[in-house]
Amino acid sequence: MTIWQIIIVASIAVLGLKLLGYLVPQSLVSKPTPTRVTSLLTVALLSALIIVQTLGAGRGIAVDARVPALLVAAGLLALRAPFIVVIAGAAVTAALIRAFV
């Protein structure tokens, strides 16, 4: 697959899922199990993506400046900082560690 094909197929899939929510009859999906699985899917994928993004290094694991950066982000979230402050705090932490360590 080319990057263009990946982008177009993935975009259409995500857009199609949004439309699905407006097309499916309410009664069909208001059952607890599909609702629960969908919510938990989001949690599992985000959690796995955090790990891959923080520890992944090609086909291996590396502990580097990204780990303290993520801890700073968690601290800022716990303090209820705005989203953009959390993102910037993590970036600045990683950049400073790479510049000076």
């Binding site: 995500v14 949004k18 796995a48």
Partner: protein, 251 residues
């Protein structure tokens, strides 16, 4: 409530829309910069924000392409789609608020994301819910696409953005999306389980597969309802992008 002229509820909805919209749009910069670093062109980056328009799915695509290249394309597509299933749920909640003909509903569907759902469902009246939805949608759609373009241009100039910590910013973005969902035991168990599965698999399987394998944790726990509380339902799965009261009245 008696003063129809000023409609304070509608004004509050508009304030919330701006607060959420500006904050979310700002991090489109990091998306744009990371996307070009992952090997996308500026055009490809912009198409993702214009057509896919769902932050979690977009970051998943570029994160997996960055580590696995086009060989991981299948995993990138499936991850984006699985993350996108929550938008279907939001659609179910928001659709009854959106009246009008099909073109309007189709646009509403395109704009049905974490933030529009959170702002609109936090408003007290039908009218202010609609206002919150459309204002948040328009502000984020325009803002997110402009900052994506700006970020892609900056990323092209900067080259290796890891020097500026933008790779860590992506992890922080995922954490920011995850954080408000960890209010009950069951999602915390799933988050920990998924993290362990992903970490264990990364060295042994191709890029993208650890994320998909971690999704199985959600399916198993969700179907069996391990660690479930009977009160967990749709109402509590609503996201909260500000990490606090999204009505935006503030101090």
């Amino acid at each position: 409530m008696s003063s129809a002229a000023r409609d304070p509820e509608r004004a509050a909805a508009i304030r919330a829309s701006w607060a959420v919209g500006i904050a979310v749009s700002a991090y489109g910069i990091s998306f744009g910069a990371l996307a070009v670093t992952a090997g996308l062109t500026i055009w490809q980056t912009c198409v993702l924000s214009l057509v896919m328009f769902s932050g979690g799915s977009q970051f998943a695509v570029i994160g997996i392409l960055a580590s696995g290249g086009t060989a991981a394309g299948g995993a990138a597509i499936v991850s984006a789609a699985l993350l996108g299933t929550r938008n279907s749920l939001y659609g179910l909640r928001v659709a009854p608020l959106i009246g009008g003909p099909w073109p309007r509903k189709a646009l509403a569907a395109h704009w049905t994301i974490d933030e529009t759902t959170a702002v609109s469902t936090a408003q007290p009246t039908l009218k202010s819910q609609r206002t919150g939805f459309w204002f948040t949608g328009a502000i984020i759609y325009i803002g997110w696409n402009l900052t994506t373009l700006a970020g892609a241009l900056i990323g092209n100039l900067l080259g290796d953005v890891s020097r500026y910590g933008l790779d860590a910013a992506a992890a922080a973005a995922f954490l920011g999306l995850l954080w408000p969902r960890l209010k009950q035991l069951q999602p915390v168990v799933v988050a920990v389980g998924a993290a362990v599965v992903a970490a264990v698999l990364v060295p042994f399987v191709p890029a993208g597969i650890p994320v998909l394998a971690a999704a199985l944790v959600a399916v198993v726990v969700g179907v069996t309802n391990w660690f479930g509380s009977p009160a967990a339902d749709l109402a509590e799965s609503a996201p909260d992008p500000m990490g606090s009261d999204s009505r935006g009245s503030g101090e």
